[in-house]
Chain length 437, copies 4
């Protein structure tokens, strides 16, 4: 119990620092694969704390496994802005070209390996500028127009740094290895898989993630729901059809008309049979095809999104969609590419780990929700990490850390009560201590 007390006092002492950090991240919001300044600052701080090993650049995400990465020139423009916005000069160069993300490792001898994941990217949202929006009123509104921390990942990154600092303060009480994973590009579920593919989740015995979540009842004192489940499996593809242009009046038969391939693909994708195993979703969100009114269209790009209540259901839709896209192209003599732009699996937290969190919180005096596990209606690429750990026999959970919010997530007026920052650090650290003590 002495260690619990220390965790709480250390954490409480750095509350102001955490708020400052969070607001700095909020002001310099960086969207997925652009978190260059953010990553450099995280690496700097971990290094200053004395964390044993700090991985950056290609050590974090497997380069070719990253999904939905912007074009080189866009990456470079974002890098130059990070330079201008005082990214850390030592670590920033490692992030060039979108090699963002940081992993800190604290080695405490023999014992279990406990990993935690903190996602760090902002969204493509234009933040509210009116004074009624606290970040605007208090001067930490995003200055990077079109990028905004509207989903609380500024908080997640801050919590991760807080956890590192508090654990460093109690490291002599710990036995085993701590991995602090600062993941880029969670939005669009683009980043986690490239970290898993680099092997960082291999050998992990316990994995904990969390998302700040608005309370349904603001007077509820609970600070955490220990588990969650039901996150949707998803795959996001860009589908590119290539055909052959021809004059539509003079020689239509000389073309390979991607417009016909597109139309066949759209209708038939939506017509993928319902699955009695559960919910599936298909959406062709955007199409851009053709170059001129009197030209047989020779190129088209479709952005599609597939989902399933489980990984299996999503796989069913993905496999069927592959057949449709291939068939639609073949029908009209076209070729195609299917580029995976983001993906997540379904996931279910381990109840045993959830019970441990509930007990630890009880011992620390932190109120826990009556709900053991809340349902995720969307998708989370933390699922890749959880699946890998569970496949190896490890335990994993994705917690809901509860707070008051100013608007729903992804809204331009989103903001949260920063009390969630120290609370979350305590929950993470108490649980890690309980595992590694």
């Amino acid at each position: 119990m002495e260690t619990y007390a220390k965790i709480k006092s250390v954490t409480d002492a750095m509350t102001d620092e955490m708020i400052a950090t969070r607001r700095d991240f909020h002001k310099y919001a960086e969207a997925g694969w652009f978190e260059m300044r953010t990553s450099s600052i995280i690496a700097r701080k971990l290094t200053e704390m004395g964390v044993d090993e700090v991985l950056v650049g290609e050590q974090v995400c497997k380069k070719d496994a990253r999904m939905g990465v912007a074009a080189e020139d866009v990456l470079e423009a974002n890098y130059q802005r990070a330079v201008e916005q005082d990214g850390d000069p030592e670590f920033l160069p490692y992030t060039r070209g979108g090699m963002t993300g940081v992993i800190g490792i604290i080695r405490c001898g023999e014992g279990p390996t406990v990993a935690m994941r903190f996602d760090i990217d902002a969204l493509g949202v234009i933040e509210e500028q009116e004074a009624s929006h606290r970040p605007a009123a208090e001067g930490f509104v995003s200055i990077n127009r079109g990028m905004m921390h509207a989903c609380g990942h500024d908080g997640h990154a801050t919590i991760g740094l807080g956890v590192a600092k508090t654990l460093m303060a109690i490291r002599d009480q710990l036995h085993g290895t701590v991995k602090l994973i600062f993941q880029p590009s969670e939005e669009g579920v683009r980043g986690a898989k490239s970290i898993v593919d680099n092997g960082h989740l291999d050998g992990v015995d316990f994995l904990i993630g969390a998302h700040v979540t608005g309370k349904s009842n603001p007077d509820d004192p609970a600070v955490v729901v220990p588990c969650s489940h039901g996150s949707l499996a998803t795959a996001k593809y860009d589908i590119i059809f290539h055909g052959l242009a021809a004059h539509a009046g003079a020689s239509p038969e000389k073309g390979k008309n991607v417009m016909l391939a597109v139309a066949a693909a759209i209708t038939n994708l939506y017509a993928i049979p319902r699955n009695s195993g559960g919910m599936t979703r298909i959406n062709v969100g955007t199409v851009r095809a053709g170059s001129g009114r009197n030209v047989i269209a020779d190129e088209a790009v479709m952005e599609i999104e597939l989902r399933g209540e489980t990984t299996e259901l999503n796989d069913y839709v993905v496999d069927y969609a592959r057949n449709i896209v291939a068939g639609a192209a073949a029908m009209h003599g076209c070729t195609y590419e299917m580029k995976l732009m983001g993906a997540a699996q379904s996931m279910t937290s381990d109840a045993e780990l959830g019970e441990r969190i509930r007990r630890v919180c009880g011992e620390m005096g932190l109120p826990v929700s009556e709900i053991a596990s809340s349902r995720n209606g969307g998708s989370e690429d933390f699922s890749y990490m959880m699946t890998r750990v569970q496949e190896q026999g490890g335990q994993a959970t994705f917690m809901r850390v509860l707070t008051k919010t100013a608007a729903v997530a992804h809204n331009r007026r989103y903001d949260f009560d920063e009390a969630v920052l120290p609370n979350s650090v305590k929950i993470f650290c108490g649980t890690v201590y309980d595992i590694m003590k």
Copy 2:
């Protein structure tokens, strides 16, 4: 000129016999691949005339190259009827199973090979029974309900026999080889290719075919248009999709739904791009799919017809249609078969041969149309024979032998003025003599 006179006198002398023969064929009308009685009688008559070689059964059509053949039990039922209707007992057995058609060969030493084609099948039409229809009034209306010579092939077969008899009468004036091809299954363009595939047009120097045709002006004395052109190339397919049945409510995802393949195929077939090279046509005439309202459909049959102004244009449509059918099946995990049920090419008669016919007719005192070549609006599988002969450097023509008709072809009231029979025999024989003298 003496020979011309002999041709005319021999022919005129057998006019009544030809009319009787034509009316017998008309009364016992047999549709494509069912011309068993008809074939047996033709073979009998050629044999009796002393024609050097009479080919029947598998010697005529290449068995596996026949298109659009009915099921075995249907063939057998038609065979039994031919037996009952006094088909020739010697030759009838060769026709069993739809091996119809006859080829007569007259060998006259060294010289060119001249082939002529006479098609012999009836149509699937129910003949008019009212007395205002001459065949009914005069007792030779078809007694095979649902089969009728409504396109004059009873006349064509009769002309072929007349040509054989007249040429036998002048055979000492001829040098070379005469082939008289009595082709089955011209309707639906199903038979000619199987004769070509058996090699019967190889080495042919001259090829002549003819179709009885109603005069646009009944007072026009002309008896023949020497050439024709522009027949449409076509391919007729049955497309069968195979899928997998499943309960539509309980587990739709377990099926392979041919209904979706059918729908994709239909729309995309009609959407085959227009061709700047000329006219094309696509039709999905019939579809039968599925077994029950609440079952995922697992089998479908579509009857389609493709056409092109030229063989190349038809090939364009056929090739594109193959891609569409394959793609539509692939999209929904189904398999398919594409069965060729009939086919013809485009064709253009040789003007030189046409001029020869004009000259011969002039010498024989037979009036010839001012039109050198008339346009065929439909399809003719004589085109396969013509193409083969022309590819080898031979000359070929498809004549229009003119007559008065009681109704348009394929109509249940169709009939023609039998004066066309001797006229046609004279034109054929005069031309053959001119070539082989």
Copy 3:
């Protein structure tokens, strides 16, 4: 408790009679709208029992509200067979033209109205003829080939007659009105709505239905699950497209091509968006379109089935499907009809009525399943009756009366343990007495 004893003794005394009745119905199986002999015998028996009012013919089902009725000639052929199979001569004429079904009313003065529904139709199944199938071995296999009681409605009709007889025996203990509804055409969910539309469920306070159901554990002594829920709402349509025929080669533009309307309808029906409210199903089960390969198709018939987890979800699909069919026809200048061939709603039994049944069974010594309500995976048009009663503030339930079965329902080897007949009569009558005493 004396009345309970009387119910039991009366019922037990007529067990052999009930078995004989059930086997008679089984032997002379009649499918939906053909239950003419069956109806006439039910009416005869109710009349002989002295039931106060026996409704037949157009008094039962509203003529124009019947769905999925066969053509006149088919109805007449079935009527003639019923005459031959000794249908009751007094009542049979009322059923001519498919006006089947019977309602018996027992009037017992003031008090609640309690309705019960017993469906009476057979399925379009060819019954197993082997001796291993008890009906074959014991001589009551269906002699009407292609019609079989493979879903236990022979039992339901028999139970209804048993309930009538037992209630007549205790009628002096009852206060109110009893309605015994013998419904035709439940298979394909075609009959119930036409009874509701005739007003027979108006003013009903309590409604009880039941379906014989195979026990999952044959040793389970339970005889009933008092409630059920979750039956799927459904609508079954025949969609007929009318176009205009034209020659596909000569003048395709003169046609109105239903083939194109069919293809557009199929794909787009399957593409009706998934609904976040729950499960929906769409199936185009069969299509028959077109008359010939070279003719623009001018008529098509599609059999489709729509389903939803709830009535609202089904309505969503139905409304969307209407738009699609109308749009598909309009696109190609065609007209269409959408004929409702069957329909059902979703339904949920009233737990209070279920508890009453549980209590009554307890008092009567009949074992009740631990399950309060079982889930219906399919569709039931009893739902129309239940919905009407619940809308008026009444209570309704659809019970599962448990038995051993020889095969799954709808299988050609289906049979059930006839002990379910007296058990069911006791449950119905005990509950009715409890309500009306």
Copy 4:
């Protein structure tokens, strides 16, 4: 013959001036509805010549009948450029907002009305800058990047001014009314109809238009083909679908998905049946639909082009396309707009007027092509003017004025031999004189 001599001498005398004018127009190329500087200079010159009436601004094109007009801000930007490029300050303001085009009227008392049309717009082509391209070498290459006179309309406008000046010189020899129509926006066939709709072709007895055309044989001395025929009828539409956005994962059923309407429209547009009356064309050139991958698409824009060998065939396609677009929208609960962006009819010059031109040229010593009428493979909105005049019983022709060209029309290296300028003026003026003398 004296007048012919005068026409020739006046024209020859102004050849250098015409070349300068043509090069000025070429340098300041303005695309359709942007011909503001061009129009202002034409109006200035006509006024200076003393033409009786000079119509500008809304007097020329009917404002709402203009097709394919750019957005207001784009029009304004082009207007500002015209101001900067020294458009005529008196007339330029009339052209603001794309009210371009000029009509000059010369009144010569009683007599026939003779109209001539000269189109004045450039294309959206980036002109070649290399010195091997004469306009670049000689300093009159377009300085308005992305706009180029690559179809000779700079020449047409110049010829029109030359005709005006020459006719003014012989006006005392003329009887009747001359209308010189300087039409904007011929490219994309967007302008002519709005001039016709303003009534300017009503009462016209003779109408002459011309297009500079490369000679197939550069040594051919002929300067004109007097007639042309066969121009394709066409209609160009922008189709906008409006739906309703919804979250594709959370509530797809709440959207109205334009993506489905787009797909249905595309496939079914291409499936419009071929027409036995002649050639038709359909192209969906471009599609832009949807706003995000996980959003039900609520807006789509398609650019389509329809064509027919005749006005009737084009109308067939247009009418069918309307049904398809309406049906596709209706199927998915969407609304739509169909905006006509350009249109032309088919046209056939009057041979009698062609013969007059041939005779006049003979009298003037100008060599005329042996070809009486050349075939137009593309579309021309002069057809609207010709149709109107012919409907009223007038005569019209569209000449080919022959020249040497450096590349095919619409190519970035296009240029023509300026000798065509005086030649054309002589042909126009000689013919007008012959009519009005």
